[in-house]
């Protein structure tokens, strides 16, 4: 089974090399992170402003002009991969990494970034792929997600928000563009992150992150 996966990965890499990345397959394994198409800035045609233009004006009252609190995602389900996990809001670990629950069966949402209800940007949900105490977690299945796989995220208002996988990439950790992963601008999207690839048995750490990019289903 593992050998098959390895062979497949090797083939995928070869394919990527052969095609020169121009038409990247949905599942790739490489060290270079390819930004999902949704992350590309949308072309913004500048409307010709009228001679009488508008200056945006708001009430500065405390109850009307504060930064809005983001609507937290609480559950993530990927039926085809048997993933059904609670999501906890998290911040940062002491070392500047995104904090994660120890239990790989609990996912984490980066609460300082966008939520599925935000007007723009990437909602980042991550979980451990495995643990010495808790064994393998559900996010281990993400590496095999096919393009189009449906992901359902439930936000705290009870609304179910559906996404379709655009790409699954395994990227060596040093090459992950974190500012792009945690992008607060651009189209609303969902980015799932876990670990994968080869394991450094001395450092007890995976060498890569598995990054799933998904777009909202209209």
């Amino acid at each position: 089974m593992r050998a098959t996966v390895g062979t497949f990965t090797a083939l995928a890499v070869a394919l990527v090399l052969l095609t020169g990345c121009t038409t990247a397959p949905s599942t790739t394994s490489s060290t270079a992170y390819v930004p999902p198409t949704s992350a590309a800035p949308a072309p913004k045609p500048e409307p010709a402003p009228a001679p009488e233009d508008l200056v945006p004006t708001v009430s500065s009252a405390l109850d009307q002009n504060q930064a809005p609190r983001a609507l937290a995602p609480q559950r993530i389900r990927v039926e085809s991969l048997a993933i059904d996990m609670a999501i906890e809001p998290v911040g940062l670990a002491a070392d500047g990494a995104m904090e994660l629950p120890r239990d790989p069966s609990v996912a984490a949402w980066y609460r300082f970034g966008p939520s599925p209800a935000s007007a723009a940007g990437a909602t980042v949900v991550a979980a451990h792929v495995d643990s010495l105490v808790y064994d393998i977690g559900p996010f281990a299945e993400l590496a095999s997600a096919a393009a189009g796989t449906e992901i359902v995220v439930t936000t705290e208002d009870g609304q179910e928000r559906r996404y379709a996988v655009e790409s699954v990439q395994t990227v060596t950790k040093a090459d992950v563009p974190w500012d792009s992963i945690f992008d607060r601008a651009g189209p609303g999207r969902l980015t799932l992150v876990t670990c994968g690839g080869e394991f450094d048995y001395d450092a007890r750490s995976y060498l890569s992150n598995v990054i799933v990019s998904a777009n909202p289903i209209a």
Binding site: M1, G6, Q66, L92, A126, V133, R204
Partner: protein
């Protein structure tokens, strides 16, 4: 609650005002100055003239306009009663606002300590914050003596006088903020919840008049100052590694677990793989 005020502009009103209306070609952020305008004079609806052109019509107390992208330069701002025909008899100003490219400003029309209308140009701190932090800026633009700002009941800023500011960097989160005469803890404003949002400069203005008993808080936010986490370490056991020996998951994990037996206290009996080895 967005509402919009029209920029009154004639066809001949070119130059700086053209940029105010957005007619100037799109410019990179570092080439322009950003200017917001806060109206902090109670009971006085005004018009705002920039370089003698009407820019904000019927601007109401407590309202915040902008931010506007402006080419760097010095702008003459005059604030008149809302029924004025032009900028010739301003209630405040005219004042010259020198705006530098790449900076972010708020011009506040407000009362001085003695209660006389005035205007102050503040430069907003838009330097990048560490991930997880928020910035709280407090500005005293009220007709009132020196104040202390209490955060969650304790003095966080002391002896702030009109028209000065104090800037704090705090872990992001909501604080209960109140304003009291300096050296006291009896609030003259608040307490009120203020969201010190992550990656954001939350600017709180104490405005109004102590004598007239209309002191209030106004808030302006500037986001996009955040930093991001620098990693997501999301695995520690190698159970799904692609470099497991011989593709024999069980043996590999079993051997790994045997090593762990020496490292981990016997308390970890719940681990399935360890139990398997023990058998």
């Amino acid at each position: 609650m967005h509402k919009s005020l029209k920029i009154g502009m004639t066809a001949g009103a070119l130059g700086a005002l053209v940029a105010l209306g957005g007619l100037a070609p799109a410019q990179a952020a570092e080439d322009v100055a950003k200017l917001s305008v806060l109206h902090g004079v109670p009971g006085l609806t005004v018009d705002v003239y920039v370089n003698d052109k009407l820019t904000l019509d019927d601007f109401k107390p407590g309202d915040l306009a902008g931010p506007l992208d402006l080419p760097a330069g010095t702008y003459k701002v005059a604030i008149t009663a809302s029924d004025a025909a032009d900028a010739s008899a301003p209630a405040i100003g005219p004042v010259d606002l020198p705006l530098e490219a790449g900076k972010n400003y708020t011009a506040a029309a407000h009362l001085d300590e003695a209660g006389k209308p005035t205007a102050t140009l503040f430069t907003n701190d838009i330097s990048q914050l560490a991930a997880g932090d928020g910035r709280l800026t407090v500005r005293h633009v009220a007709a009132a003596p020196a104040v202390d700002v209490l955060a969650n009941g304790a003095a966080a800023i002391t002896a702030l006088v009109n028209p000065k500011e104090s800037v704090l960097t705090l872990p992001a989160g909501t604080i209960s903020a109140a304003v009291a005469a300096t050296g006291t803890t009896d609030p003259v404003i608040g307490p009120a919840d203020v969201n010190v949002a992550e990656g954001t400069n939350t600017i709180v203005y104490a405005w109004g008049s102590l004598t007239d008993k209309n002191l209030a808080l106004a808030v302006q936010t500037i986001d996009g100052l955040h930093s991001n986490p620098d990693s997501i370490p999301a695995g520690e056991a190698g159970l799904v590694a692609t470099n497991q020996a011989d593709g024999s998951t069980g043996l590999m994990v079993g051997g790994f677990a045997a090593v762990l037996m020496g490292l981990i206290a016997a308390g970890v009996v719940g681990v399935r793989r360890l139990s398997a080895v023990r058998r």
